[in-house]
Amino acid sequence: MATRGFTGRRPSAALAKRLPPGQYLEEDFPVLSKGPSPRIDLATWRFTLGEGPRPLASWNWQEFQALPRTVWQGDIHCVTKWTKFDTTWEGVSIDDLFAAAGITPPTPYLLAISHDDYDTNVPVADLLGGRAMVATRFDGQPLEAQHGGPARLLVPHLYFWKSAKWLKGLRFTARDEAGFWELRGYHMYGDPWRQQRFSDDP
């Protein structure tokens, strides 16, 4: 059904191909969060891999900085409809993180846990094979607090609420447990190309 008088502004065909359905191109980098940006001190920052309540490995900021680094360039998609093209991130790939910890994933699911009590679920398979990292730099600079610094998860092939800001750890879970937004009506998986925004989207 056409909306009377609406013409819209189409991106070029080349750009349109890179836009998932329902998304629009954003030049800026919008900020969204459930609360205030937490105040995080690098002197006490720790990153912990755990299984349930049991820690498997943990790094302080210096130790984390010494892990192998990866750069990723590409597009990111927020469930609030904006897509940003050609972003550049640097951090530690989840493959390298698990290798440094000397673990193979004990379960197929995990929750990314943040300093502000935010969490979000991601299947472990979606984090492996170079598809995800713990990012500490954006666009060549240390990641700003508003964008999740000092460290955030980056899972760019899923809606960006999965890329938890202010990350402090990953916790393996036996089942696929819903996180903060997933408990509040958002989709358990969140594939932007299938428009998996809300729990009743296919």
């Binding site: 056409a2 900020v31 105040r39 502000d116 009590d117 009743d200």
Partner: protein, 243 residues
């Protein structure tokens, strides 16, 4: 959450500030929202091209129509349509109500502190109206910032409410225009002004909602934290970038 698209009829279009238009929609199939929720709006061009945006609901949950307020972005794709094109009787598509975090129900109580900037007043206005409709006795403080008094949406309604509801305190902060009342601010909200307002209010907030541009929300939440409001009480909703 309900992700089914449905048709809504535009009932009223009102330019309520120089930059904000109020659109009242009849959406009979929409579930009753919770104050603070939003809807997704979908516009379709003749060739099938679609644009979607999210807008907070400003009306009280039980109100007859759904009121959205839309700020005009000069280089925007969708907001100029709502400012310059849409008319009563038009049909647009929407889905919702959506959102399960930036919401307030009367039984959640308070004292309740709402802080809004510009068109970020929308979900807070739904809470204020819900609070009034439900005859809530919980103290409610609204700190609302815009560039000038004329750019405060719902200014008259808020003044009238303050005059009749002893538990409602409304402080306006105009960043580029004169204050109208002695306790209003003529500058940006900062920690010192928040602390002074909280002292005057004489309550400790139990629930805090901050909505506006990202820059406004960063400044507002920083001021609240510096004034000693615990981070765990503060919920935010933001739009726009870090710049």
């Amino acid at each position: 959450m309900s992700s089914t698209w449905q048709e809504a009829i535009v009932e009223r279009v009102g330019h309520i500030t120089p930059r904000i238009v109020s659109i009242v929609l009849k959406a009979p199939l929409l579930t009753t929202p919770v104050a603070g929720q939003h809807v997704d709006v979908r516009l379709t061009a003749p060739d099938g091209y679609e644009a979607q945006r999210s807008y907070s609901i400003a009306s009280a949950p039980e109100a007859d129509g759904i009121e959205l307020i839309i700020e005009k972005l000069d280089d925007g794709e969708v907001s100029p349509f709502f400012h310059d094109v849409v008319e009563p009787g038009d049909t647009i598509e929407l889905r919702g109500p959506l959102g399960g975090h930036f919401i307030w129900r009367p039984d959640e109580g308070g004292p309740l502190l709402l802080m809004g900037g510009g068109s970020g007043i929308a979900p807070l206005m739904a809470m204020v109206r819900q609070w009034r409709v439900s005859s809530a006795t919980t103290p409610l403080l609204l700190i609302y910032s815009a560039r000038t008094w004329e750019e405060l949406a719902f200014g008259d309604e808020l003044l009238a409410l303050q005059a009749q509801a002893p538990n409602f305190m409304f402080v306006a902060a105009t960043t580029r225009g004169a204050a109208r009342r002695k306790d209003d601010l003529e500058r940006r909200i900062d920690a010192a002004s928040v602390a002074a307002i909280l002292t005057r209010w004489d309550y400790e907030p139990e629930s805090v909602y901050v909505c506006g541009s990202n820059r406004f929300v960063e400044a507002g939440t920083t001021a609240l934290l510096d004034a000693g409001v615990p981070a765990t009480l503060i919920r935010t909703e933001r739009y726009g970038g870090a710049a």
